[in-house]
Assembly symmetry: C2
Homo-oligomer: 75 residues x 2
């Protein structure tokens, strides 16, 4: 919920926020976007764009692919 509050603060100040997450946290990024648009935002904000990607994290033998998401929320 603190992520949602932070996103809401940025939204009211800047008019747009990009919620980003990788791997296991992707579900939480979706939660934040949903909470901000449907519950906290008083109908002022909407999901404008969603992108997914694959990032390489770690080095050498630890190197692996991790999915990521970027959700643009704005007016």
């Amino acid at each position: 919920m603190s992520y949602a509050m932070s996103a809401l603060i940025q939204l009211t100040q800047a008019g747009e926020v990009v919620v980003k997450a990788r791997g296991m946290a992707i579900g939480r990024a979706v939660d934040v976007a949903e909470i901000v648009t449907k519950r906290l935002g008083n109908g002022q904000f909407r999901v404008k764009d969603i992108g997914i990607n694959t990032e390489v994290v770690g080095e050498g033998a630890e190197m692996r692919n991790v999915s990521s998401i970027e959700i643009v929320v704005g007016k």
Copy 2:
């Protein structure tokens, strides 16, 4: 990986697949879409649309909101 194989089979047969997930499984849906478009699909397929939503699951005192995702993959 078996989800990715299933998605690839449907893609080659029907030309389109919608990968859906709720809650904790949302990250896995993104993995499936990324694997199919970037690794298995030989560059033939792309993410055409991504939508997120909130669903109510459970009944009575167990009722709660869960985020969901739908990723449309096609040619």
